[in-house]
């Protein structure tokens, strides 16, 4: 957040400088990137484990619902972070993703417009997703995480298979 400015003109250069001129910048960016992929993978695996243990059954139904929310939040966090380096990978991966969401029935165009902050991906999208990635989604995620852990304890701890 100190070295990065979310504009189409500066984002990519800032990442480049972060990697070459900032102490441990490359290492920290690498860790951020790989840990993010690990997190998505781990959340999927966690969901599978909970399902196979039948741990979504009463009294834990509500916590399962929270968990599905957390899965979506994780995907959103990962996806918003994907755009920020503003390289070819980011631009076109997000283009593919948001084009799909544009096919939402009835108000697809509006959904896409809100997501992109315009009719096509650009600086406005970058700013929007940056704020989502560093501020709003973490904020919401922490709230849901807190509820998730609180429910784990309330509902009698983690559940085994039997």
């Amino acid at each position: 957040m100190f070295f990065y400015r979310p504009t189409a003109a500066q984002a990519w250069d800032d990442i480049q400088i972060l990697q070459t001129a900032v102490g441990f910048g490359l290492l920290v960016r690498n860790m951020h990137r790989w840990a993010a992929h690990l997190m998505v993978l781990t959340v999927f695996l966690h969901m599978a484990r909970v399902f196979y243990h039948g741990a979504y059954k009463p009294p834990r139904e509500f916590n399962w619902v929270i968990g599905v929310m957390l899965l979506q939040l994780t995907l959103l966090l990962s996806f918003t972070g994907y755009l920020l380096p503003w390289d070819q990978l980011a631009l076109w991966a997000v283009t593919v993703g948001t084009n799909m969401m544009g096919f939402t029935p009835v108000f697809g165009e509006q959904v896409r417009f809100v997501l992109l902050g315009g009719v096509e991906i650009g600086t406005d999208t970058l700013l929007r997703w940056y704020v989502l990635h560093v501020l709003m989604l973490p904020f919401v995620l922490v709230i849901f995480l807190a509820i998730h852990f609180w429910r784990v304890r309330k509902d009698g701890g983690i559940s085994g298979p039997l």
Binding site: Y52, G54, W86, D87, G108
Partner: protein, 239 residues
């Protein structure tokens, strides 16, 4: 000191009678007998306690014994029954044992170690493998193929088979709704795997279906999103 178990009282009385009748041996060897429970705990009595006991027995002033003369040996040494401690009060834990342990330290130590481990793994992995940073985004150069992040590649794979609205909105939307509804639709109370064959089969089929789609999208799709074999055409996959 309300109820002294019958067998303990009997044993104490016998010992007392024995001490009164015969000329008893040294006070140390007698002590465990009066203390009741296990005479095999002789060695466990700390030396300083034994010394204290000896010192006390040297003073011929029994306090608590109901009959002072009863425990007095021929040499004037005495043994005193200070107290019979019921085994329950010193051996039983107050809480009845259950199959639960405290979160701290039993769970949190494991979790902390796991966090350390995964941090170490990420650190080492990040030292050796760099995160991708391709060239600057360019609207005029569409990479071929263009791929979404890996966790959306299953959806992108569906795009090759269905209308975008079905692949991009309807199917994932239905999937998420079904996931949220799972605990309310699956009314089977049992958590045993053998009782929930249907639920497990259904979930496994869908997870496998999804994993296969993601893998095809990731590794088996080349230029034009055409099906290729990675060992022929190379990998078209960036994380």
């Amino acid at each position: 000191m309300t109820e002294i178990p019958e067998h303990l009282r009997k044993r104490a009385e016998e010992a007392r009678a024995k001490a009164a009748g015969e000329s008893s041996s040294s006070p140390e060897s007698e002590a465990p007998t009066t203390s009741g429970e296990a005479s095999s705990t002789d060695e466990k009595i700390p030396a300083h306690l034994l010394d204290r006991g000896k010192a006390a027995s040297d003073q011929s002033a029994p306090v608590e014994s109901s009959d002072p003369g009863l425990g007095t040996g021929p040499d004037g040494n005495t043994q005193r029954l200070l107290a019979v401690v019921k085994s329950g009060s010193i051996q039983d834990t107050k809480a009845t044992p259950v199959d639960k342990v405290h979160v701290w330290p039993h769970l949190l130590v494991i979790e902390f170690l796991a966090a350390l481990g995964i941090t170490l793994f990420t650190l080492l992995f990040s030292i050796f493998v760099n995160a991708p940073l391709l060239e600057l985004a360019d609207f005029n150069k569409t990479p071929n193929p263009s791929k979404a992040p890996w966790y959306f590649l299953g959806l992108q794979e569906l795009l090759t088979m269905f209308h975008p609205m079905v692949a991009g909105v309807t199917i994932p939307g239905m999937g998420l709704i079904l996931l949220v509804m799972a605990p309310y639709m699956d009314k089977n109370p049992s958590k045993r795997p053998e009782d929930r064959k249907f639920a497990i089969s259904l979930m496994t089929v869908h997870l496998m279906f999804w994993a296969v789609l993601v893998m095809i999208g990731s590794f088996f799709r080349g230029p034009g999103f055409n099906f290729v074999f990675p060992w022929d055409a190379g990998l078209f996959f960036e994380l």
